[in-house]
């Protein structure tokens, strides 16, 4: 194949690898936030799943057990978030922040207590990881799952009865309640789906992209996914696009490190790194289009007696 076809393909392939956890987290966040539950805790759930997956895979030597453990722990945290936000009607941001902080500490505490390697899990052998597969173009199963997850999420939210109700409960929960559908049960399902997505995302980080867990390995990617969700205006396909764009920026930032460009000179890596955050702020401020959140987002629903 000629160079001008191969080079962009390679860039796309690298972008996909970097963007996969973002895509998974953003899709999870999409379900949660469309139902009216803010999820600042994407980062924490992903980090917990990364640790659980790596720990389980290290002990059992099975990637699939790792995946199950990752999903289970993230789903558990999602239920905790749901209990706080839906049943206890607490501040959703406080709950998300709490989960992020607890997980940031807990993964290191247990990592050191169980594996004595400064918070890391032991390096994993290939059979305990999701390895690249030739017929997937050298990508692993989770990358493929993330790619499938996007149209699936779009379809579930825009084309199914569940999705219709999900969107309604995020905009006018009173109407859903009046129609005889349980607001709480709908929202619990939404946060649970979010938990599963973030669980897969974390699993990808520790046992597919890398060969083990290291402390703080999510490094803010949960927040970037949240940013992508907002930049994508709480829609599956645009959010996916934003994830790819942020992934591409990341890939470029790595490539540009230390290189000089004609006229501009050396571009500071930090400038490229802040672009997702800066872009989100600009977009939220309504300077380029307007990102309008689901109307009832962040508001606990209380059934009037």
């Amino acid at each position: 194949m000629p160079e001008w076809i191969v080079a962009p393909l390679l860039v796309l392939s690298a972008t996909l690898r970097v963007a996969t956890p973002l895509v998974l987290c953003a899709m999870g966040g999409l379900f949660s936030e469309r139902s009216g539950i803010i999820d600042v805790g994407l980062e924490g759930k992903m980090l917990a799943a990364a640790f659980a997956a790596a720990a389980a895979a290290a002990v059992t030597d099975s990637a699939w057990v790792g995946l199950a453990a990752g999903i289970a722990i993230a789903a558990l945290l999602a239920l905790l978030h749901g209990f706080a936000c839906i049943t206890q009607r607490a501040d959703q941001v406080v709950s998300g922040v709490a989960i992020n902080i607890v997980v940031a500490g807990l993964t290191v505490v247990f990592g050191i207590a169980w594996f004595q390697q400064g918070g890391q899990t032991p390096p994993l052998p290939p059979e305990a990881r999701f390895m690249p597969i030739a017929w997937l173009g050298g990508h692993n199963l989770i990358v493929a799952a993330a790619l499938l997850g996007v149209p699936l999420s779009h379809w579930a939210i825009m084309r199914t009865r569940f999705g219709l109700r999900l969107r309604a409960v995020g905009d006018v929960p009173l109407a859903v309640d009046a129609a005889g559908v349980s607001v709480a049960w709908l929202r619990y399902r939404a946060v649970l789906i979010c938990g599963v997505f973030t669980g897969v995302a974390g699993t990808y980080l520790s046992i597919a992209q890398n060969a083990g867990f290291s402390r703080d390995m999510t490094a803010g990617q949960g927040y970037i996914a949240l940013a992508a969700l907002i930049v994508g205006k709480w829609r599956a396909l645009p959010a996916f696009g934003a994830c790819l764009a942020f992934g591409l920026l990341d890939a470029i930032a790595i490539r540009l490190q230390g290189t000089r460009i004609a006229v501009v000179g050396e571009i500071p890596v930090q400038l490229i790194q802040v672009l997702p955050y800066a872009l989100t702020v600009i977009l939220l401020a309504g300077f380029i289009g307007k990102a309008v959140a689901p109307r009832a987002i962040g508001v606990p629903y209380e059934k009037t007696p």
Binding site: S95, A98, Q116, A278, E302
Partner: protein, 379 residues
């Protein structure tokens, strides 16, 4: 909404007992985690208490950490009173340190301490306030959500500081991203040095004049919120934005003011760290204090006195946690991060978990405790 259906609890239960119960719950869960890590929780508590209060030096360290928490705790509490959740304390504290550091580095060879230090403190406040003012303005006039923008600003602040320290402020010939040491005139004196001046001998610790400034800030925030018209407007906004608008309060201006004051308070972390202890600009000197401030404000029920008490608790956790890490190889200071998170969880997200139980438990005493007005209102 949720508050409307609650039965009123007497003030000593609502502001005293409930927060204590929630903190104890958080600490119990932390104890279970310590147990799971293979350490006897009773031993751990003993080591932490001795580590935090067992000697003059320990108390000094505890109060030094508490100073930072007072600043960020007040920052979060003040914004809470305006109904705003400022989770940008990390970034504002970071930028505050940058402001103080820039002034100190720029003028430490030409200005005397009497002018330089107030100027550096003002710069810390100014930089912190400016970093909070942008999200505040965007919330007030462009409708963007303060929580999301302050999160994004934390990351932007972190990247900005890396850039500045690696490329601009790095000391010539230095391998690590640090600025040169600031001159002695710009350094805040440590308290043990000051006390020696009046004939008292205490063990050396990083505790410095910033602690006094923190205490003054507590009083100032209380005076501002409960004794000035602007503070009143701010609290009205927090209680009911519609009522505030109807009463003729400029909601936009009050929002920006609240965020600016909040950011300025967070910025003072930079005074304690850069002028008081580190004496140079470094990376990550504010890490964890911004989020810790949320926990402190939640336990302290957003009151300056509560914030001060909660800060001492957290200072003790930080200092005691360091000792814990020395004594038990299987535990690191990350345990303190876990406790911080658990406190936010139990005092914030699950604050009303024990409320029904508590209401039932004190029901026999409530009638007497609520006071005549409440009973009269009911009948």
């Amino acid at each position: 909404m949720a508050a409307a259906r609650r039965r009123p609890l007497p003030i000593w239960v609502d502001a005293g007992l409930l927060p204590v119960v929630n903190v104890l719950l958080a600490l119990s869960v932390a104890g279970l985690i310590v147990l799971a890590a293979g350490v006897d929780p009773i031993d751990a508590v003993r080591v932490m208490l001795v580590g935090a209060f067992g000697s003059e030096e320990a108390v000094g360290y505890t109060l030094y950490y508490a100073t930072n928490f007072v600043f960020t705790g007040l920052a979060v509490a003040l914004a809470f009173h305006a109904g705003l959740f400022n989770i940008g304390g990390e970034g504002q504290a970071y930028l505050g340190g940058l402001g103080a550091g820039l002034v100190a580095l720029g003028f430490d060879r030409i200005l005397p301490a009497a002018i330089l230090i107030p100027l550096a403190v003002a710069a810390a406040a100014g930089f912190g306030a400016a970093w909070a003012a942008i999200p505040g303005y965007l919330q007030a006039y462009r409708g963007s959500h303060i929580v999301v923008t302050t999160i994004m600003f934390n990351f932007i602040a972190a990247a900005l500081m890396v850039y500045l320290l690696v490329n601009v402020l790095i000391a010539p010939g230095s391998m690590s991203p640090e600025s040169r040491e600031i001159g002695a005139v710009a350094q805040l004196p440590a308290l043990h040095v000051l006390l020696r001046g009046i004939g008292l001998t205490v063990a050396p610790s990083p505790l410095n004049l910033s602690a006094v400034w923190a205490a003054l800030c507590c009083v100032a925030v209380w005076l501002f919120l409960w004794r000035t018209p602007r503070g009143y407007e701010l609290r009205v906004l927090g209680h009911n934005a519609d009522a505030a608008r109807y009463a003729g309060i400029d909601v936009g201006r009050t929002t920006v003011l609240a965020l600016c004051l909040s950011g300025a308070l967070a910025g003072f972390v930079g005074v304690n760290e850069i002028l008081g202890v580190q004496h140079r600009l470094i990376l990550d000197f504010a890490a964890g204090y911004g989020f810790g401030g949320i926990a402190v404000a939640l336990i302290g029920r957003n009151h300056p006195a509560g914030v001060a008490l909660a800060s001492i608790l957290f200072g003790a956790l930080y200092q005691g946690g360091a000792e814990l890490a020395f004594d038990f190889p299987s535990i690191t200071r990350d345990m303190v991060v876990v406790i911080q998170g658990l406190v936010i969880l139990f005092s914030g997200a699950l604050a009303n978990l024990v409320r029904p139980w508590l209401e039932a438990a004190i029901a026999p005493f409530v009638r007497d405790a609520r006071g005549v007005d409440a009973i009269a209102e009911e009948s």
